[in-house]
Each structure stands twice: as C-alpha cells, then as structure tokens.
Amino acid sequence: MYALKEIGKYSTLLYQALRSSTEWSTYRKNLFQELVKVGYDSVPIIVLVGIFTGSVMTLQSAYQLESAFIPLSTIGAIVSESILIELAAVISGLVLAGKVGARVATELGNMRVSEQIDALESMGFNSVSFLVVPRVLAGILMFPVLYIVASIFGVGGGLAAGYFSGSVPPADFLQGARMYFYPWNIVFGFVKSFVFGFIITSIACYKGYYATGGAEGVGKSTTNATVLGCIYILLADFILAVLLL
C-alpha cells in the first residue's frame, strides 16, 4: 500500500513537471545553472572514474588473458567494448547518483523544511516548474555528455595503463578496439545515460520536494534518493540490456 502511494505521488510530480515544462520563462535561468552544476561540475569526478576504470580493466584483462594463444588486441577489444556498452554509463551513473542525486535531494529538502517552497508558491510561482523541471532536464541533457567524457577517458586510461605497464602496446590495443567497434554500442550507452539521468534527478527531486521534518528528514530524503537512484540504475541497466541487446 505504501509503495503504491509513493508511486502515485512520484507519478503525479512527474505529470506536473511535464505539464509545467512549457513555462520556459520560469525555469530558463535555473536550467542554465543546473546544466553547469550537473554537467560541468561533474567532469572532474567523471574523468577520474573513467581513467581508473579503464586502467584497472586493462591490467586485469592482461592478467587474466595472459596466453600465447590470445592476441593482445583482444584486451583492447574487451576494455573498449566493456566501457562503451556498460562501464562508462553504469559506473558514472552510480557515482552521479551520489554526487548529483544527493545534492538535488538535499537542496530541495532543505527548501521544503525551511518553507522556501511554500514561499515560492505563495508568491505565485509554480514551484514544480521552477525547481523540478530544470533539474530533471539538466540530468537528461548532461548525462549523455558525461557518458562521452567517461568513455573517452575510460578507453584512454586503458590504453595508457597498457602502455605504461608494458602489458599491451598501444597499436594492439587500438587494433582490438577498432576491430570490435559497433556504433550501436554508443547508441546503447547514450540511451542508458539518458535514462539514468532521468532516474537520478527525478527520484532526487521527488525525495527532496516531499521531504518532511527538520535536518533528520532532509538526511533521510538524501539517503533514500541516493540508494533508490543506485537500485533503479541497476534495474534499468538490466531491463535495457534485455530490450536493446
């Protein structure tokens, strides 16, 4: 019963957000600020995640596939494909559930418990249009961009790790990456990051917008937003793999 109620409230908030997405003048300024916070401000952590994921993938693959019968280019293929299809989107998503999801839930939760959302409504604002729409739009628009960043630095990190460890020469790594490259994999990664962006920001907005209580309530909303964001990313990852691969 509780779950149904939650789904109902979440759906209602999304419906209100969809309806008020036409009020461009209300959220225009906030949208640009959110694009910077969600996108630009997340680049350093995404670069870091990409480099280390690619590096570790290369080193572990080289360790596991150490055989005279397996060409070194296989490692390049495995690393680049894994990053493009799965790791760039999913690991970035999980990291951003913490970074972006927690920030959004805390911001809105704080605004709710300190009556700032009531103040917006009292002035005649549509608070959903003002607060929820720009954050969800920023997630949808910026996560695919961050996926590209994670992919580039992931493959680059893998290439560099192979070179500096001496386990995979760059030429072999790139040959493998090119040999098994399918453009569909990038489309798939894009779709995933788009969906993850929506999941993380919409859940965080929902949890923050309906936060209750004081500091404890905001903390609870933030934790729930992060945990639920991670769970639904993994669930969506599975469903998308079943549907699109």
Binding site: S25, T26, N110, M111, S114, E115, Q116, D118, A119, E121, S122, M123, G124, F125, N126
Partner: protein
C-alpha cells in the same frame, strides 16, 4: 475581503478543526491565537490555498480560491504577501536579490526600477545597509524584516504573518509589531497575524480569532476580548502574570 465558510481540515484521522467561519474586512488586522499545535498556521495556509481543506470555502474578494484552476489560484496568491515563521528567505541569493526576486519574475521593471523598489522596501524595515549581505549573515530579527520587505514588494492587498515575533528578543519583537502596524496604518493592507504572543496581539490586532478544541472557539474585536468571560479564552489570554498585567492596562 476574505470570508471563511464552514472550513474543516484533518490530516488522516487527526481532526485539526471544523466549522471555522470568519470574515476579515479590508484594512483590518486579524490576530489568530491559540495554543501551539491548534492549527493556526494550518488555517493561514488555507487562505492562499497552500493547503486544501476537507470541506468548506475561502472566498477572496468573492471567489472561492479552491474552485479556481491552478493558474488562477497563482494569480490570487499574488494578492498576498506572506511572512513565514522562519522567514523562508532563499539562502542561495543575497538580501537584495531575495527582495527583488518577485519583481524579476512578475514585472517587466528595469534594473533601475527594481533597485529603487527594493531599496524603498528595505527602507521601510530599516535594512538598506544590509542589501549586499548574504542571508546567512543576518540575525533572526533581520531575517524577519527582510522577509517582510519581500512580502510587500509587489504591494499586496493582504499580508499574512506566521508567528512574526517568535524567537525574537523583546526589543526586536517590538520593532516587528511596529512594522505590522505601519503596514496596516500607512498602506491600508489587510493583515492576518498568527501568534500566541498576547503582547503582539494587543499591539497590532483589530479583531481576534481564538482556536481551541478543534474549532473557532471565540471571535470578536480586541475590546470584546478584554471584556469576555469565556473561560478557555480567559485562561489562554491570562496564562501569565505579565499578560494579566498588560490586559489590565
């Protein structure tokens, strides 16, 4: 004019109040009093439809606000200025921008015009010098005054004050009371003040509504309140020796 007719509100199984009937004439200052948790702020949030009742009507200038669509409701809300209990200032922007906020979205005023109006509004509350301060740098009393400057920036017909003097030292509370009287006397704004501070009631109110036992227990003018012998009202208004003293004066 605001008319409340047969209003009833409950949260789940918990009845807050029912059969609330009130009329607030233009230019009046109504104080809504009652013990903590009796639903004063809940009643206030029904006047601009921040909360929806179980049943009943709130007529703003003859229109039931709960029967309006969301867009029309938002227009009616712009007739109200609200001073929230915790001031509800936006902490991501400074004092000037907090006061300018409604102007930037609801008017086509130029920057010069916005500056002039904001400084005038801050002038009413004696805070021109705090225009550049971050909200985190303001004291509780200053936050209330900035909240009031923001509440009046669009020149509302009604102002609602939610516990305007709670948590303030007596001197600052007195300043806030004087500002409430100023808004009412100088600008002829209809005011609704939710408070349990009897000193504040005696300072600013023309009429008093007393909520108790999940209903509007008493309603009348300030003079009628002084003379009333209704037991629960007398118990509430004379709960401290200080209140007895000031009521006696």
């Amino acid at each position: 004019m605001i008319e409340i007719k047969n209003l009833k509100k409950s949260f789940g199984d918990l009845l807050i109040w029912e059969d609330v009937n009130l009329k607030i004439d233009d230019g009046d200052t109504l104080a809504i009093i009652g013990r903590s948790g009796c639903g004063k702020s809940v009643l206030l949030k029904h006047l601009n439809a921040l909360l929806t009742p179980d049943s009943g009507e709130v007529l703003i200038d003859g229109k039931n606000i709960f029967e309006l669509d969301y867009v029309s409701q938002r227009k009616v809300r712009q007739k109200f200025g609200v001073l929230f209990q915790g001031s509800a200032l936006f902490d991501s922007i400074n004092t000037f921008e907090n006061v300018a906020f409604p102007l930037r979205y609801f008017t086509k005023d130029s920057e010069e015009e916005i500056y002039r109006k904001v400084m005038r509004s801050l002038g009413y509350v004696n805070l021109e010098m705090a225009a550049d301060k971050e909200t985190s740098e303001l004291s509780g009393g200053m936050k209330k005054r900035v909240g009031l400057a923001r509440a009046i920036i669009l020149e509302p017909e009604y102002i609602m004050y939610d516990e305007p003097t709670s948590g303030l030292d007596p001197e600052t509370a007195e300043e806030i009371n004087e500002l409430i009287s100023l808004m009412s006397d100088e600008f002829d704004i209809t005011s609704i003040v939710v408070t349990h501070d009897m000193h504040s009631v005696l300072k600013v109110a023309d009429k008093v509504a007393y909520l108790n036992d999940q209903k509007l227990s008493w309603y009348g003018t300030l003079e009628e309140m002084r003379e009333s012998d209704q037991e629960d009202l007398v118990n509430f208004t004379t709960a401290s020796e200080y209140q007895v003293k000031i009521l006696g004066n």
